[in-house]
Point group: C2
Chain length 742, copies 2
Amino acid sequence: MKISLQWTVGFTQEAKSLPENFIPAVVPGAVQPDWASAKGWPAIEYQANYPVRYEDRNVPIAVDYEWMEDVYWLYRTKLDFISTIAGQRLYFVCGGVDYRFQVHLNGQIIYDQEGMFTPFEIDLTDRAQPGDILEVLVFPVPKMYHNPIDEKQSNQSCKPAFSYGWDFHPRLIPLGIWQETYLETRPALHFRSVEVFYELSQKLDQANLCLEIITSQIGLGRLKWKILDRAGQVILEKENTPEQFQQCFSGSIESPDLWWPNGQGEPVLYTSIVELYDGAGTLLDNRMSRVGFRKIRLVPHAQSWNDPDNAGFPNSRNKPPITLEINGRVIFAKGSNWVGPDMFPGRITTDTYRLLLQAAYDANFNMLRCWGGAPVQKEGFFDLCDELGIMIWQEFPLACGFYEGTPAYLRVLDQESRSIIRRLRSHASVVLWCGGNELFNNWSCMTDQDLALRLLDRNCFELDPHRPYIMTSPLSGWAHGGYQFRLHNGNEVFQYFPKAHNTAYTEFGVPGIAGIKLLERIIPAEDLFPPRPGTYWQARHAFHAWNGSPDSWLELWCIEHYYGMPATLEQLVEWSQWLQSEGLKFVFEEARRQKPVCSMALNWCFNEPWPNAANNSLLSWPAEPKPSLKAVSDALRPVLASARIPQFSWVPGETFTADLYMLNDSPAAIAEGRVDATLRVANQDLLLLSWEIPGTPANTNLPGPTLRYSLPDLPAGRITLCLRVKDHPDWNSEYNYLILGK
Amino acid sequence: MKISLQWTVGFTQEAKSLPENFIPAVVPGAVQPDWASAKGWPAIEYQANYPVRYEDRNVPIAVDYEWMEDVYWLYRTKLDFISTIAGQRLYFVCGGVDYRFQVHLNGQIIYDQEGMFTPFEIDLTDRAQPGDILEVLVFPVPKMYHNPIDEKQSNQSCKPAFSYGWDFHPRLIPLGIWQETYLETRPALHFRSVEVFYELSQKLDQANLCLEIITSQIGLGRLKWKILDRAGQVILEKENTPEQFQQCFSGSIESPDLWWPNGQGEPVLYTSIVELYDGAGTLLDNRMSRVGFRKIRLVPHAQSWNDPDNAGFPNSRNKPPITLEINGRVIFAKGSNWVGPDMFPGRITTDTYRLLLQAAYDANFNMLRCWGGAPVQKEGFFDLCDELGIMIWQEFPLACGFYEGTPAYLRVLDQESRSIIRRLRSHASVVLWCGGNELFNNWSCMTDQDLALRLLDRNCFELDPHRPYIMTSPLSGWAHGGYQFRLHNGNEVFQYFPKAHNTAYTEFGVPGIAGIKLLERIIPAEDLFPPRPGTYWQARHAFHAWNGSPDSWLELWCIEHYYGMPATLEQLVEWSQWLQSEGLKFVFEEARRQKPVCSMALNWCFNEPWPNAANNSLLSWPAEPKPSLKAVSDALRPVLASARIPQFSWVPGETFTADLYMLNDSPAAIAEGRVDATLRVANQDLLLLSWEIPGTPANTNLPGPTLRYSLPDLPAGRITLCLRVKDHPDWNSEYNYLILGK
């Protein structure tokens, strides 16, 4: 039986002093929103409520969160329970405290831990009485150094780096009890752990299961184990008497329905129910979990062993594999980079995830890369991904830094990574472990020899050997970037991606401005137009957000290059979103056109942890789609007609060209058909070409003709290439490009 | 006290039957030479004594070794010892049996193991009586399959692959007791293991030692530990009473003299002596070992973080590091690939190694790559490398194959790799672990995800975390090959290496014919000249040895291209060795010229396990230098004048060019000086250029001028470029190239 607890919280300057005041605490949550709420501060997400102190001193500080990083926070609760029945045990159960903490019972330290990802239980039986005081003392934010105030302060801890300040995340570092936390009474004999492992036979026609249980006592009780299929039918039933603390029971399922990613089949999940009875047949404990049967391999791409980049002598190696093979089928992985959906992970619920993940599913995603700068998400996230068939690339909490393998760091990384692996390994959706983000680039300077990354490989190998592990992204042959529609050297995505021939594009982005309604909520009216540095546009990352570039992510210079100066906010937003939509559509389709050498495309990024005025994300916080989401969704349809157009803006007299393709990522062949290509210029539709498409096998693209059209004298404005597929309007595509005045 | 054993051996078709005959066995050794010796067969290394059956049926089979692969071999000894004194223990101690075996005592199985690299001890106290029969039953050669008969039969075992047949190794797969094997009586209290670990302080000015001992009993005895410096002075002395089976004792040494590789300083070794006494002060056991203090790191090369190969977007990772930093100093690693020096590792003694390693030292080597196709060498090898300052890159026994991570294979790989790591980790000379040879190339098709390689990383990380581990060679940015003076496309080493810009050349070769005296011993007189397929030239790998190429390693087509048809054996040998010498000299110097992007050059290969008629090795079996050894030795001098000459053969009228360099790998700066470049043509020395060299820092090269000389009408023959360094004749260089008739 679970007993919820009521918490208060207060801060102190020293671990051993008591807070002067306690305020109500929301658990799970974080101390910052508790404090803001107690003080009546407005919601931090909107208007001028953001502590901009670190980033731009031109913007006044409305409220101050900075000091909260460096104090101790004491959570306190009175144990309000009825004395336990003889034979029952009483536990304090906590899913996670962020970050370093102690647990005190009546002022005595009874537990001590560093690390937010390791849950814990404390047996309070015979130790705590009703009315006793239980406290959780949370230490200040871990920092490698005090100055400069930057994200690399996190580099000797397992605290996610992005809350220390990032181009899309303000500096605001949560602390507090962030996972479910309660008292629980349990019978003396209960489960300490229940886990279902399986191996699929070579032909995938048999699942050999292993139920591993750990019980609190031995030699007592009776175990019942059932597996139910999707229809709720029991297809496996076992009974046994556990004889050791830790024991395995085996079972097998013939011809299991497999778990498939979105677009490839159904993400079939079975249900496992395990019950523990005492000698009299009374149910003591039970656990329910879900199992999706699938086999994952990371395999070299189709041409890897005869790579023209590595021909002749002297001869190097093939590129490290990044092609996913699921259930024996090579799959093009497509989707986005996922960041934390809220600055305070403690506030996140399954509902927070639901809207976002449904949007990812609807956008034809089959993969999300859970980026190492953000916390590992809560259970609800993985449950939903299991259900939706969204594959998860999960990183450990390392990003863009040099995480030196000191003994103290390796100790906490060992503990935290083991906890993360144990928690997630039963999820069908999780297909890949990764050490962290961009660790082998010159802003991080780690290498394959770093002990942190070897430790992570060791832990993955030991606890989860059949799930691939990569040290970081990118590795050789894959790429990150660019993050702009037009680079400062004048290259557009339309030129620099077709020249690349990477095996995976695991980050790339085109920024877009948020919708007007959101802008009005986060930027004071007087700042709204025109946008300029030193206003809330800057605090909201439209200026100086990234790499010292003066107007990222607004990219005003780029918008002006194509459209001229916007006269209104509406115009500015429309143009920015247009560029984001066409830019991302192009890159996703180009990556797919480069199949099978390329087998993955994940844009940066899907969502954001708070509302930015401009950002690479497809949705604004909390889950407001930008128009680019629809564009990406179109580009990721299983089957579509596609065009490679070599530049965005055209002038009359130029020859407009487009390389036509049929793209097919689906497990079904395409029948013969026809694609009509028309150009819509000045409100006229010109049929330029009809392409008779032959039948095309499953999961295979079909290159087509190159269309050429000498542009007549046209007024400046939109030019639209329409590809219409006979009898398949759902495969049609449109590309909105630009005619510039001569 | 050690008691040696007298062994006999015989074969049977089945594990459970007994041999019909027993013959005398040499232990350590192998069953094949025992059999050959009993039958009076001539030495397999010479003349027509080689079983060519698998490779070329045109050559008659003189003797037959093939059947020996597939039978069981039973070693037998009578335990000839005096009954043990009360309190003494009796052990059967064995350093290794090749490959799968059981130990029987009076017909009972008392031990069972797969794997030649794991030593074992069996406590026979109270179990064996004088006169008892002890047997070692060796199973047939492990084979993944029976056909085809090739080297990949070894790919589910830890048996070194090269003995299954390689371009320089005949098919002959040793079996038997290959390491020291004896009875030993010990006091009840004795050491089970003694090992000295250390960490150097950041500034390398303090060594913090940890003596880890495991004793057979606890709570008894007294331990004395001494560390002696090079002069034999005791610089650390500790006494203690072990209180646990496994215990660590610490100590520290201030300002230790460091161990340096050849050419960089002295390979200083300290001596550790550990003694165990009983309560009465009687010495029970003692162990002596040596410690060399040095810090190894594998670091990115100087330009790695700003690599022009990875500029702009989309952006990938830096190249994986292969630059060795020893004691904080980046070192250019130079040397060779080491293969087994004998087909039968059991016959190898420290004397086998001594000549070869002295030759490597004299050739200015600071590194040998112990290639994974050959067995891990015996202790004497590593002891000598410790003393000579030769760094060792040690591979696990995987080469050129797909070693699938089946449970059975992973089990034996786990055991064997742990044994190898434990045995070698105390050696100062061992600087790098490597999973195996060319596993990420299309003749192997393994990837970073293969469980075998992840297991090896795990074991290295756990047992030896501060020594770098790489999965295979080459990795991205490094290269293997070419193996020919002139490729079939006409490219010479003089062209294809300057075009490469790899970070390490970890294999490259130019073949050369063996000396005439050796040829006369291995090829019957009637076959000697001209060399042709179907004779012993072929059996000795001069034809069809590699990649299906008809005359590798003889490369007759290449010799004829430059010199025409040889008229005599003497001419043939001279020309082949000339090409090998100039080819290798060029590649080594070119790799050094590419410093600091390039930081390693290791030619294929140093030695050979039996006498080949033609091979890429610098020495013929057992330790006969070819002229190329001197050429390589010259190219690897710490300091030398060097020339990049763009082609080997010239015709009158062409402009002869040479890019001049001073190469400095030494830790000392070069003072100002002068290099005179003269061309010796038609017995005349023409001074073409004097280059005034400025002072040059330690470990740094100096690019110089390009010499140009329009070649006059000259007779065909040798043309020699001589670089003479004023006051430093030891830095002079000579390059012998060729004038072709017009």
